[in-house]
């Protein structure tokens, strides 16, 4: 866009330029919301060009452009109307940008690292989701490569909306994704990926001194990290005394346990005998009010209790086992976790901002040195407050959420690279508002969190136990139809010798043989000479007396010449290439496409014509011809039962061709179609 203030605008709704009816608009894009929004206020006079009603308007496409010297220099919004408020004397259109269509599209598929071409690469999966499952587009210039270090073994989309899945990927990568109306594409990139060249400077293009906000909400200057815990197993022995209410206290909080109880004396530290030597001594555990049926013991893993209970009538009928009297006859094997905590602080931050203490748990950190690296980095990024403000900016092109801008406020000694978290573009134009801050920037640079997110994404995918049912609809269209029926009539008058016939089969009377050469009368001295007199039918041949097309519609695909009148045709009826070809002034004529039936109306269609032809039809067997208006139901001028014929003549003194059309998914349209009624 030309440098300057973009005061010119063009707003198009449902393909109609409604710019002159715009009272105001506000286009907002916010980091956390992803889908951009626009609110446009129109004068009611918009009804002059666009009818607004309860049923008209919602889901209409909307575009907003603006510019300095031309109103179409830059698209700042492309999307659709979500709702219309009728507020006298105006309409307010609430719109969402085109990324919203990804919410409306559903996807059911899974991306397997070893099967699908995306190979588990998150950015590739993202691109496929957008390009294959929505009508939006993105490419390798708008979607950054997330690389092969961060991959997912399986990414499941189970009747999910595409936007949610894209959001999950972006969140896992800790990246941003958005729709850019100017390029009309979807973007996926690290936060702050692009550092814009425009410098936002108070007093230069920032028209007001901003109020800077310093937030201590997420300040940390003393951090305890509890890393991965290690499991340790231990065993406790105790004497049983055959009374109710026996318990065994544990020194650690148990994670799991086995309890063996035997009879008599055991010597685990001396002779080595233990109740667990006999598997029959293994007892069954349970939980009061949870376990149904009978069980022998329960344990309380409350860190303040850490106790195993046997039968105690004051607690209920279960557990129901009482250890008998014995020495070391109660053996409890249990497992507990050992944590590896690290604690560190930032004294300078504590002195400045007072202590801000917290504990993080990172199960993926398994040793102290990794824990120390994590703590150091966390304190580095979070021991200072986050800074943010909203700037009123003019004469700056293409402000983008998620992009980095150098922000200078000399009076407040601020010269920082900050990320734009919210942008508001307005009309009438006075300035654009851009909210900037460093919180997201610091999160982005805090890489360790990304691995955690990927791991969580995988864990969430892994939790799904549902089978993924892919329903792939493949439809075949097949037309099974009657092509035509015809009735052939053969008149046998003049023939003789039909055995069993009441007239032509009377013994001693009927004549056998062709009438033209005399008959054959069995036993006759003249007409019964073996080897000389002829027996059999005469010269009559069947005559077609009725022809009716399937569904009264003639469909000529030029597969054969059943209806080709070669005597009256000069053009070529080509059953190999399924076309009729004409040179200058040539004619093609059909034989009767209908016979014995009087029709009143006809409609003629030609599927595909190259060149110029005249089509004529006769409804009375060729006695009268009338010129056809294609694709129009027409009353026959003359019709009777002597037959319907079609004649096509080339009229431009050049070549012409009539052929079928072919639709690979469905069925063909015939070169010639005549519907008769």
């Amino acid at each position: 866009m030309t440098s300057g203030n973009p005061k010119l605008k063009k707003v198009v709704v449902n393909g109609v330029d409604v710019s002159e009816y715009v009272i105001s608009f506000e286009v907002t894009r916010e980091y956390k919301k992803v889908i951009g929004e626009a609110e446009i206020v129109f004068s009611k006079k918009i009804n002059n060009v666009l009818t607004i009603s309860k049923t008209e308007g919602v889901a209409w496409p909307v575009t907003i452009q603006r510019g300095v010297s031309s109103p179409t220099e830059e698209y700042i919004f492309r999307g659709e109307v979500m709702s219309i408020q009728d507020t006298i004397p105006t309409y307010t259109f609430n719109c969402v940008d085109k990324y919203y269509s990804a919410v409306r599209h559903e996807v059911t598929t899974s991306y397997d690292i070893d099967i699908d071409p995306q190979n588990g690469v998150l950015s590739e999966i993202f691109m496929d989701l957008i390009n294959t499952h929505t009508d939006l587009t993105c490419d390798s210039t708008t979607v950054q490569n997330s690389g092969t270090a961060l991959t997912l073994k399986k990414f499941i989309c189970n009747h999910a909306d595409v936007f949610e899945r894209c959001d999950a990927i972006a969140d896992g990568l800790n990246w941003q994704h958005y729709y850019d109306p100017d390029t009309d594409k979807i973007y996926l990139e690290p936060r702050g990926f692009v550092t814009e060249s425009d410098v936002l400077e108070v007093g230069v293009n920032v028209i007001e001194a901003p109020d800077w906000e310093y937030s201590k909400d997420r300040l940390i200057n003393e951090l305890t990290l509890r890393g991965a815990e290690q499991a340790v197993e231990t065993t406790v022995f105790q004497d049983g005394d055959n009374t109710e209410g026996q318990t065994v206290s544990l020194s650690k909080k148990p994670v799991s346990m086995k309890v063996f109880v035997g009879s008599g004396s055991f010597d685990p530290t001396g002779t080595g005998t233990k109740p667990s030597d006999n598997n029959a001594n293994l007892k069954s555990g349970g939980k009061i009010n949870s376990t149904s049926g009978s069980y022998d013991y329960e344990y309380d893993d409350d860190p303040n209790v850490k106790k195993v209970y046997f039968y105690d009538s004051s607690r209920g009928s279960e557990p129901s086992f009482t250890p008998p009297t014995g020495t070391n006859n109660i053996e409890i094997q249990y497992t507990y976790n050992i944590p590896s905590p690290v604690i560190k602080s930032n004294p300078a931050s504590i002195a400045k901002y007072e202590i801000h203490k917290t504990t993080h748990v990172r199960t993926d950190i398994k040793n102290v040195s990794d824990a120390e690296v994590y703590v150091d980095k966390t304190l580095e990024y979070f021991s200072e407050p986050f800074i943010s403000t909203t700037l009123k900016v003019s004469n700056v092109n293409k402000l983008k959420v998620g992009h980095k801008y150098r922000c200078i406020d000399a009076k407040k000694d601020i010269d920082e690279y900050l990320i734009a978290t919210k942008i508001k573009m307005m009309y009438p134009y006075a300035f654009d508002e851009i909210t900037v801050g460093d919180e997201i920037l610091k999160e982005t640079e805090w890489e360790i969190q990304t691995m955690d997110r990927i791991k969580r994404l995988e864990e969430l995918e892994g939790e799904s136990q549902d089978l993924l049912l892919h329903v792939i609809a493949i439809d075949h269209s097949m037309i099974y139809e009657r092509r035509y029926t015809k009735l052939e009539l053969k008149n046998i008058a003049g023939e003789t010798g039909i055995y069993g016939h009441s007239t032509f089969g009377v013994y001693g009377t009927a004549k056998y043989g062709a009438s033209t050469s005399g008959g054959f009368v069995l036993g006759h001295t003249t007409f019964g000479i073996l080897g000389t007199s002829k027996i059999g039918s005469g010269a009559t041949t069947p005559v077609t007396v009725r022809i009716i097309q399937g569904d009264n519609t003639y469909k000529e695909f030029l597969y054969d010449d059943d209806f080709y009148d070669s005597s009256n045709s000069t053009a070529t009826w080509d059953t190999t290439n399924h076309e009729i070809t004409f040179t200058a002034n040539q004619i093609i004529q059909t034989s009767e496409i209908s016979l014995g039936i009087k029709y009143n109306y006809y409609t003629v269609n030609l599927a595909q014509v190259t060149g110029d032809v005249k089509v004529e039809i006769s409804g009375d067997g060729g006695k009268n011809w009338e010129e056809v208006t294609l694709n129009s139901r027409t009353l026959f001028t003359n019709s009777d039962t002597t037959g319907v014929l079609l004649k096509i003549t080339e009229t431009a003194g050049s070549n012409a061709k009539i052929e079928n059309t072919y639709d690979k998914e469905a069925y063909d349209e015939p070169a010639i179609k005549v519907k008769l009624e």
Partner: protein, 306 residues
Amino acid sequence: MTGNIINKKGKNLALYRIYTANSDLSSTEYLAPTKFKIGVNNVEPLETDTDLTNPIPLSNGTINDDGSNQLTGSNGGDNTTDNTTTYKQGAGLTDNTSQNLKVNNTSATKTFTISDLSVNGTVINKDYYVGLFIYIKDSTTLDYFKSTGTAVEIKLGSDSSNYYSKTFEKSDLSTGWNWLYLGKLSDNTETGTVGTTIDTFIIEITTNNATDVWAEGDVIYDLLRSWQYSDTVDGFVSGYPSFDYTNNEVTIRCYIDSVTANGFFIDSVALVTEDTNPIMHSEAVITGESKSDTDEFAFVIKDRVR
């Protein structure tokens, strides 16, 4: 109205046969069409049709009365007389005789009876299909027939009080020969209780007035016949169906020789299966063509898939 379609059941069976494994194909249902039947007075075909409107016998069936035997007149009807000029061919008959339904002015109900078909013909099986011909000379004669309500009633039973009957209105009739088709006899209205021997045949014509009388020969009856389903169907010509796998078309040829289906104005042909309950696969209704003993008919039927 004319038409030429594959019926819904025909499409059902095609679908069934395409997608059912060979070993799972039924031997009694949804078989391929292998027979044809013909009919008269067919209405415009609809996809939902399951039979022709009036199928006619291809084979002779049973001649219950060949039309050469007198019917006894009563009420406004007189005893019938022979007519050797205007008669119906068909069913392999050679009598060449029909009966003039003579009338008098004593009653608007003109009754004609054969009380024992077995004397000169054959008794009727109630499970058979039944039909006969009535000839009406011209519109003047037709106008004598009762304008509304029952104009003709055909009764077949064990006597005049116990019979199956079917009524026809004037709108069902036309000048010239009329084929009165009763369908399966036992499906018709039963009056009383019909005995096992169905030998009584009554034609009852009701005119508008008792004084409505016509000249001898203006109304004629011929050929009472009955048949079974198997008499209405025949196979295709040998070598058919013929398949064109290049253009995905099939051709079927149905032949009716000069001794078959004579005396009818044939206007419909259907392809049917040999299921336990036969299915009509398709039907074509054309402008009728009369069939006599000098005619051979061949229906050529082409279907395609695309």
